[in-house]
Symmetry: C2
């Protein structure tokens, strides 16, 4: 029997579901990886993983950080559903209802990137910084914003990758990979955008490839917009593209250069190396964040 | 003696200070307009306006919506100061301290645009919509975001006018008017940007002038970014430039066209006319919002 109280967490991605049992302090007791196939088969296997724990009364809540778009409005008939995703077969999938019915537990539900943001805020690089921003730059680009101790949502959830940023077609004639917006931030700077533009995956480019300057400019322009709009106290910059060794310091310098001293804060002038930072939890941000969502839900239910 | 409890409100602008005594329901009992000259003289006159009310015990709190940049960090030694403003003589002006010492009252302090956002949220067009966004497009461009019933701030206050947006120099070779960023949103679309680009003030351009299409595109691109990042439930679009009769419907259409159906919400598809709206309070948003900040401060102090 575990010393610490346990919770469930699911990082529900388009290629894999990571399911875990863990504690509020980040200990993972058990974890499994399930390939994302059909909704029925995938969620069935998720239920099988958790069932022994719920039946034994060891967990009462599960947090889910889910690929989207998802419906986060508790008043909506499709609350807890994956809605208009391009992923075949997954449109209108009732994730929360399926788990609740099969497992008889409470479910905290949010987007994958909000969960990762909450993971870094709870136990990672942005711990103690409120408000804080987490960005992931990889196959997709997304951001989660933590304000007053929880991920921020509104009319819908944020779609931070789809902002419009300057695009000089002379230096970069590529029209962008976003099927909705062409050259939005994700359309210009995500992994698929790099691959389609250069016919080479980002990880195969030399760190000295001149393309990275362009990539850094797009990332810096987007970060500048997030800073001007959200004024976070820290920015955690994760995702596969950021694994490139030189990118993070280049982004910091470019953000400073582009803000040009307009915003007066030591975080932006003297301490930018601790203002724009790498994640602490690596690829575990999402699942630890999902567990943290479950912890928060139970705490709210008890009225802590 | 007034039936309703009274509060003070100050819209502290770079050209004028509007001081008012009013109630939580928006009744203004008394109001005066003070030209912004030196800090000493201006604040002296502000104090003279409020002194009879504070001495009689009729008001215990004043809200201030202030031009900036301002320091909103309660832990900072310069909290309540106007900090690095370009306005001559006003750098490092202790607005909150001066009022507190002279009047012996509580002071709620925020930016001018956050106060206006809070005014529209309290008694105007965005009442009941949380989160909500208020934008002003005029001499400057700024935005205030209301989340969980209060204006959102972070590391600093938002500077929403200074975001980077696409700028096609072929169709618009103007380099922008922002002394820090050149062609940021404010540098491309504010009143001074129009005047410098066209050698004509916006109000002198015909409503059919082809320039407005460019202006609408900049505003729509910026709004798209605010939507993707903040996901507000309503957007109130005020300021002098928006007084142009045709601009608001053009902006709505352009936002829809540019989002291209990616975000699924009836607010963005069917009901955009009630999603992007004009202010209800006209040029009183700021002073009513300042009073509402005082109301909120007293309510928090009492622990309501």
């Amino acid at each position: 029997m575990a010393q610490e109280k346990l919770y469930g967490g699911i990082e529900a991605g388009g290629t894999k579901y990571v399911c875990a049992i863990g504690s509020a302090t980040g200990t993972i007791e058990s974890q499994t990886r399930i390939e994302t196939t059909t909704p029925e088969s995938t969620l069935q296997r998720v239920v099988q993983f958790f069932l022994p724990y719920t039946q034994a009364g060891l967990i009462k809540s599960i947090g889910v950080g889910c690929f989207g778009p998802v419906d986060l409005d508790p008043k909506s008939p499709s609350f807890g559903f994956i809605t208009s995703t391009p992923k075949p077969g997954w449109q209108n999938t009732d994730v929360v209802g399926t788990l609740k019915r099969a497992l008889g537990i409470q479910v905290a539900f949010d987007t994958d990137v909000n969960a990762a943001a909450f993971g870094e805020f709870s136990l990672g690089a942005s711990h103690g910084f409120d408000p804080s921003l987490y960005l992931t730059i990889g196959t997709g680009i997304g951001g989660g914003f933590i304000k007053d101790g929880k991920p921020m949502n509104g009319l819908l959830h944020p779609e931070m990758g789809h902002i419009r940023i300057p695009h000089d077609r002379k230096s970069d004639p590529y029209g962008g990979s976003c099927p909705f917006h062409g050259d939005c931030f994700e359309g210009l700077a995500s992994g698929p955008a790099i691959e389609k533009r250069l016919s080479s995956r980002g990880e195969n480019l030399s760190p000295d490839d001149p393309f990275w300057e362009l990539e850094v400019m797009y990332i810096a322009n987007a970060i500048e917009n997030y800073i001007c709009i959200l004024s976070p106290k820290i920015i955690v910059l994760g995702g596969g593209i950021m694994q490139r060794g030189n990118l993070l310091p280049m982004v910091r310098r470019k953000v400073q250069e582009s803000l040009n001293g307009y915003l007066k804060s030591p975080s932006l002038s003297d301490n930018i190396d601790s203002y724009i930072v790498a994640p602490d939890l690596g690829n575990r941000s999402g699942v630890i964040g999902a567990i943290a969502l479950a912890v928060q839900l139970e705490s709210m239910t008890r009225g802590d």
